[in-house]
Structure formats: C-alpha cells, structure tokens
Symmetry: C2
Subunit: 184 residues, 2 copies
C-alpha cells in the first residue's frame, strides 16, 4: 500500500511539474508576442508624420507624434516595456528548466504588475487624445483634427492596437505566474 501511494505521489508530482513546464513555455511565448506588440506600437507611433499638401513656404502644416505629449509618453513607455520584456526572457527560460522557482516568480509578478501599469497608462492617455482628435469637443472648443490629418490620425489610432494587445498579454502573464505559484 505504501509503495503504491509513493508511486501515485510521484506520478502526481510529475504531472504538476509537466503542467508547470507547459505554463512556463506559454509564458515565454506570451512575452515574445508582447515584445512584438510594444515594438510595433512604438515604431508605428514614432514614425507617424504627415505634411499637408497646402503647406506654404512660410507656414508649414505638419503633424508629428512629438507635437502631442501623450503620444511622446506612449512611445517612451512602449520602448521601455519592450526592453523590460526582452530582459525578462532569460527568467522565463530559467522557469522552463527549473520548475520550482517561487522567489523569482514572485519577483516577476511584481515587475510585471508595475509594467502593466506603465503600458496601460501610456495606451490610455494616447487613446484619450486619439478619441479627441477624431471627435473633437464642442464644450471646450477643441476641434477634430482628423479631417485634415487623416493619415496621421489613422496611424496613431492603429499604433494603439499593439499596445492594447501587450496589455492583455501582461494580464495573462500575471495570471500564469500566479497559477504556477499555487501549484508548486
């Protein structure tokens, strides 16, 4: 009986380790997807630039991402998040090899939660401005600029997609780390 229970215990331990390894592999994949998302967002917004065709020699009508501070913040935050995610890849690989790594998982949850706040704040601030650029606001006399700068508006709105995707990945990463912690 004892031998059987030891065997069963070993089998269930191996199963738990197998599941944890699966979680760690998924963690690595999510991080790579989030790197691509934040990088694409930073590049798409950073290269958004439109000169209007009726520009005169005296006054130049041109819209660039760094005219609007929220967009500048968005590019900086996404670049930082991309760098952070690249730096955490070794941790993720370490977790695939060593399945019991409680402390480093807790550290990753802490850093991931802080980075989630950064990415979300950048994306939301940019989204608020993109919304304003599209719709304008009559009460405050801020008029829509998207009738003139159509390409710039489309580019800046599109660049939000990668960042919002990365946000979802970060939430999933925190959840996966929590599940792995509760199983180890």
């Amino acid at each position: 009986m004892k031998a059987v229970s030891i065997e069963t215990g070993k089998a269930s331990k191996a199963k738990v380790h197998g599941v944890n390894r699966g979680i760690s592999v998924f963690d690595l994949v999510l991080r790579i997807v989030a790197i691509v998302g934040t990088l694409a967002s930073a590049v798409a917004m950073g290269t958004a630039d439109q000169a209007l065709s009726f520009s005169t020699q005296i006054v130049n009508f041109e819209a660039q991402y760094d005219d609007i501070d929220a967009f500048k913040f968005f590019v900086i935050v996404n670049a930082i998040a991309c760098g952070y995610l690249a730096l955490t890849l070794p941790f993720s690989i370490f977790h695939i090899m060593r399945r019991r790594a409680g402390k480093s998982r807790v550290l990753l949850i802490v850093l991931d939660a802080i980075m989630l706040v950064f990415i979300t704040s950048g994306a939301s601030a940019a989204a608020a401005i993109v919304y304003l650029a599209h719709n304008g606001n009559t009460s405050t006399n801020w008029f829509s600029i998207c009738q003139q700068y159509t390409d710039f508006c489309q580019r800046s709105a599109g660049s939000l997609i990668g960042s919002f995707g990365a946000m979802a990945m970060m939430v999933l990463l925190i959840v996966l780390s929590a599940i792995a912690l509760s199983r180890s």
Copy 2:
C-alpha cells in the same frame, strides 16, 4: 531527534501561518483604503461643475464633468472599482481565517489585475485631458481652458489623486497575494 525536528517543523509552520495572516490583514486594510480612494475620486469628479460669472441669459458658460467623455469614463470606472473592492472584502476576511486558500487567492489575483487595468486606463485618460486642459496644444489649436474654468480644472486634477492612490494599492494587493501564494 525526530521529536525535535517535528517540533521545529510545527514552529516554522506556525510562523508561516502567522506571516500569511499578517499579509491577509494588510490585504484587508489596503482594500479599504482603495475603496475610499476610488469613491473619493468618483465623487470629486462627478460633482465637478463650474458656471462662469459672465454667463448670459442666452448662452450659458458652464463646465461639467460629463462634457468630456474621458471624465465620464473616469467616474464610471472608479464607481465600478469601488463596488468590486467592496465585494472582495469577504474574500479578504476569509483569507484571514483560512490561511491556505490557494484557489481563491489565484482568483483574486486575476480579478485584481483586470481591475488594475480598468483603474489605470480611467486615471490615465483623465490625466491626459487634464494635462491638455492646463497646457493646451498649439500644434492642434486646442487651447487651455484652465484660465477660465480654474475651479473646474483644480477639482478634476485633484480627483485624480484618489485614483492614482488606488492604482498603487492594487499593485500592492497583487504582490501580497503572490507572496502569500508562494508561502502556502
């Protein structure tokens, strides 16, 4: 020797349980602080309203939070977060009594992470608009409205404090849950 090791094991188990109970009590306190923060933010922004003294009988110059969609979103998100935090108080009390509750802690981490995204997005979108209202933007011809609506601007900027405080509390709550999970 065996008796000694069992005793030591019991003592260390009791210590771990004591630390986890401390974490759970801290979790409860943080949730209450975050409830106060989100409620104060929602109320402060929701009651922000300023009529200018030179209002005529024909045209009424008045600024309210629901003139700006980002502020409406901010109030809704803070109200939802406040309700969510109140609903999770029983979980927190349950964790103080039962120190080994892996599954409910993982569930709380998932929900807390999602709520952190909501609070952060509301606060950042509102912050982007408050920044614009204060500084304006010459490239897009959006002028500062804070020279006219001073009280409204101060109130809306002040209401961000509670929400940013709640954001910090939510990050701490996720970290505490992760530490408790790694110890149980």
